[in-house]
Subunit: 287 residues, 2 copies
């Protein structure tokens, strides 16, 4: 069995119709291509959880806040197809921009409150673009389950809230972050790092582990955790911290005291590359 | 065969599942109840076009810009059920507010540009609430076709654009306005008019017919049409004009010259009742 490449919405709907009518379940892994081991994990989960796996490959212009970031986002469809073939994907849906946005897009989905902190504060319009394109993809593929990585924790929270608030008939499955041996979360943006910056980038995960350990040991003041995370990052002048925040995992709101599991999340610039990461941190069980 | 009343999303989805699996088509007529001959026409179209007709009855708090309008909006479910029974409806979906909005709604659909004029200018947030609840209903019922009246022309344009922009797998079917013998467009708000105001309300349609005739005779300047419509309304001091606009039928933007079919639309207050109406007006064929 070999992966099938489809580039139009109509072809994709027709291709999925027989499986759907036979009662097979469909899993969607939405991606912007440049597939890596993180996507591999999403695909493996989808293969386990559904009968037919669709990977969408679409670099969505509407979610980029910086033109240069959109332009230089890596694109290599033949390589992504080979990756999907090896991973046992059934269908790759790779539409052109014109196919997804044939006319000026007038309709946008806004998820309020959840987008007020973290990346939402620094990338205006980003999550509006993400929510809108994810909704379009869900409507085109109509999957039973869709798989999102925990590395993009705010995106995952936004998509989950959208699905719930709009009564979408799909289950959103969160998938753990895949890391390099030194802890760096795998991301297509890592390939833009030069060797020294790549080594420096390991500090992000180390700093998050400091937070996780402090919280597990009973620290409850977010400002203390924040200070410890910054202390773990700032010795290296290559790292410019955009934010470090401690938020509740559902609403993505800063907490005043850590009495339940929280997400410690950060964004750091290394040269012209922006990296994000986060870790779920649990306080000790109450005695 | 008798109409089935369902009040939860889960029950409604289960009830529709067997028909869907058998390949039957489902038609949705979204309403706020207070059913009248206009809804009757929508239901009749749905019965013609689909195998199984669902009428939703839900007074959506999110689309009301004035609290008093929401509070006094007429509600009479037993009467609406009897109406649906007589009209041959299969399922009435009548959820409580708590069922549709179990948690604070954070996700909203915005349709830009199309909502900048007409009612959108005077009812801030109204179309955001309409688009959001219509999308929820479409996701709950997953109909093959959904039916909307042309009386609410801007709402129809907004829903059509949303469906197109979000790739929703549903066909939106427009249904002509039903009128009283004197031309007044049937609306649940008409019942709030006292007898003198009711007689005065017939001027709305007469004014629109003036516009239609002038445009059919070759008038091309929107400001002339607007002046004629106002002249047909203003002799009566009971009528307070909110807007009269001449827009293109898809984008709902004011036109500079009438060279293609336009919608002449108006909103008029009579006492504390706000009425809207519109007419598609076509210029003469070019010679």
């Amino acid at each position: 069995m070999s992966v099938r490449l489809l580039e139009t919405i109509a072809d994709t709907r027709s291709a999925l119709e027989p499986a759907r009518r036979q009662g097979q379940t469909i899993g969607l892994v939405p991606t912007m291509g440049a597939l890596h081991a993180g996507h591999g994990r999403l695909i493996a989960e989808a293969r386990q959880g559904t009968n037919l796996v669709v990977v969408s490959v679409f670099v969505n212009p509407v979610q980029f806040d910086r033109e240069d970031d959109f332009t230089r986002y890596p694109r290599d469809l033949p390589r992504d197809l080979a990756f999907c073939e090896a991973a046992g994907v059934d269908v790759v849906f790779a539409p052109a921009v014109q196919e997804m946005y044939p006319a000026p897009q007038r309709t946008f989905v806004e998820v309020t409150r959840l987008t007020g902190h973290l990346c939402g504060r620094f990338r205006p319009g980003h999550f509006r673009g993400v929510a809108t394109v994810v909704l379009k993809l869900l409507n085109i593929i109509q999957p039973h389950r869709a798989y999102f990585g925990e590395k993009d924790a705010q995106q995952l929270a936004v998509v989950r809230r959208m699905v719930r608030d709009l009564n979408l008939p799909v289950e959103i499955v969160p998938v753990p972050t895949v890391r390099e041996p030194d802890g760096l979360a795998i991301s297509s943006r890592n390939q833009h790092l030069n060797p020294q910056d790549r080594r420096a980038a390991a500090a992000l995960y180390r700093a998050l582990c400091v937070a996780q350990q402090r919280i597990a040991s009973g620290a409850t003041a977010p400002e203390d955790i924040r200070r410890d995370v910054l202390a773990a990052l700032q010795p290296d002048p290559r790292l410019r911290v955009e934010y470090v925040e401690i938020v509740d995992p559902d609403q993505m709101q800063p907490v005043e005291r850590i009495t339940a599991p929280v997400r410690v999340a950060l964004a750091v610039w290394i040269g012209s590359v922006r990296l994000i990461d986060n870790l779920l941190c649990e306080p000790p069980p109450r005695g």
